[in-house]
């Protein structure tokens, strides 16, 4: 029963949502709308579950003195400070449990939650992603070795798009007369993006879409049950 009832719920809910697309009248339409609202709320709890699970995992690692355990204390402290600041004084748009005093607002210039967001979160996330620019250099080296017609096409398309979307591309082909404007790098890049790139993306989208539809049907019909766990 611990597996059958959830499978029945999945079947009922999934079928209801699909049927409501074809019969958007009562009761299917209203039930489907209600379910979508419920989905949002339960998903919210699922996100909270993820954060609490991270908290729990870190506490277990610290208590068992796992390798590098002192660093996990930093994660726990950062998480706690962010949550406490958010709950007590709120965020830019939301009031917290305690109204923030003018003195504190003048001191930080922002609410404490927003101060941490602006000076820590923004810098950390931007730097973390910009770090990938360096690793892309080595990835480019591997990708851009034109060993086959396929990798040559990848190389040519990437170089033309990069050149065409920057000012150096315009200046390189700026001397070409207007009558041959289709040879201007920005125009070539636009052509690649508009036609061959769209064709490839469209093929991927359509086939992936069919794959998602197939997977959805497998889940609704109870063929795919991995989400219920291994027990």
């Amino acid at each position: 029963m611990r597996r059958q009832i959830p499978m029945l719920i999945t079947f009922f809910v999934g079928t209801l949502i699909i049927v409501s697309e074809f019969i958007p009248h009562k009761p299917f339409g209203t039930l489907s709308t209600s379910l979508e609202g419920w989905f949002l709320i339960i998903s919210g709890f699922a996100i909270i579950l993820g954060q609490l699970s991270l908290f729990k995992v870190n506490i277990i690692k610290i208590s068992r003195k796992a390798p590098n355990w002192p660093y996990y204390i930093i994660a726990l402290v950062s998480f706690s400070i962010m949550v406490i600041c958010g709950i007590l004084w709120g965020t830019q748009k939301q009031p917290g449990l305690i109204p923030i005093s003018d003195k504190m607002l003048n001191f930080f210039g922002y609410k404490p939650f927003d101060y941490i967001f602006k000076y820590m979160f923004e810098n950390l996330s931007a730097t973390m992603f910009s770090l990938l620019a360096f690793f892309m250099a080595s990835a480019s080296y591997r990708a851009f070795r034109a060993r086959s017609p396929e990798s040559t096409l990848l190389l040519v398309a990437a170089v033309l798009v990069m050149l065409g979307r920057t000012t150096i591309g315009s200046s390189l082909t700026g001397w070409i007369p207007e009558s041959l404007s289709f040879l201007h790098l920005p125009n070539i890049a636009s052509f690649i993006m508009k036609y061959p790139n769209t064709a490839g993306q469209r093929a991927i989208l359509m086939c992936a879409g069919l794959g998602v539809i197939g997977s959805s049907l497998r889940i609704i019909l109870g063929i795919e049950r991995s989400y219920l766990g291994g027990k």
Binding site: I17, I18, S78, G109, S125, A158, R165, C207, S216
Partner: protein, 213 residues
């Protein structure tokens, strides 16, 4: 005082930026500290975001202000609490009921939305008359679009062995996919480089004041 806190904030940002960049040399304690701060702050941010933007407006406010009309919302609230039971190993199986609603709804919604946006809409956009416009470049482009889409789809058809005419068509599809991957790669490189430029702007502008924003 606000200016002082702004300066302190900038210095914190600079420390974190260099701590992350120090990974380019090798893994080190500064990187690990910055990494854990990032994990903690990100988790805390999404925790607060979820409470203020999802749970309060969609659950707590309707239930506390007008329970009579919103009593059905107690069902997802109950299922949400069941979901949190996942953290208690002895009763973690009860979270399957909540998970079943989420998975069922997601499957149903994906079925509808992907069928519409990724299959039917894309198909409609591909079935065009390429010769409708008098412009030669557009005619060639639209022919490429139709041929590329069809051959790309054929490449993804794995129920038949890729040989003979079918294999040749699939091979043309691979070429279009490669052009698509190349364009996507080029765009990704550019976006990462622009992020790096943003970091350099922060260090040379906000911190050192060498360049003006």
């Amino acid at each position: 005082m606000e200016i002082l806190m702004h300066r302190i904030g900038i210095w914190i940002g600079v420390f974190l930026t260099f701590a992350i960049f120090s990974f380019l040399y090798k893994d080190n304690p500064f990187y690990k500290i910055a990494e854990q701060i990032f994990i903690g702050i990100s988790a805390g941010y999404w925790f607060i975001y979820t409470i203020y933007n999802i749970l309060i407006p969609n659950l707590f406010v309707p239930v506390t202000t007008d329970l009579a009309h919103n009593f059905l919302l107690l069902i997802p609230a109950f299922l949400g609490i069941l979901m949190l039971c996942r953290l208690i190993p002895s009763i973690d199986w009860v979270s399957r009921y909540a998970l079943a609603v989420v998975v069922g709804t997601t499957a149903g919604l994906f079925f509808k939305s992907y069928l519409q946006s990724d299959v039917l809409n894309q198909l409609t956009a591909t079935i065009i008359n390429p010769f409708a416009s008098g412009n030669a470049a557009q005619i060639i482009g639209e022919l490429i679009l139709i041929i590329g889409t069809l051959t790309g789809i054929i490449y993804f058809f794995f129920s038949k062995k890729h040989e003979g005419a079918f294999g040749t068509t699939a091979r043309v599809g691979i070429y279009f996919l490669m052009i698509s991957f190349g364009a996507a790669f080029g765009y990704t490189v550019m976006s990462r480089i622009s992020l790096l430029i943003g970091r350099l702007n922060f260090l040379l502008g906000d911190w050192l004041g060498i360049i003006k924003p």
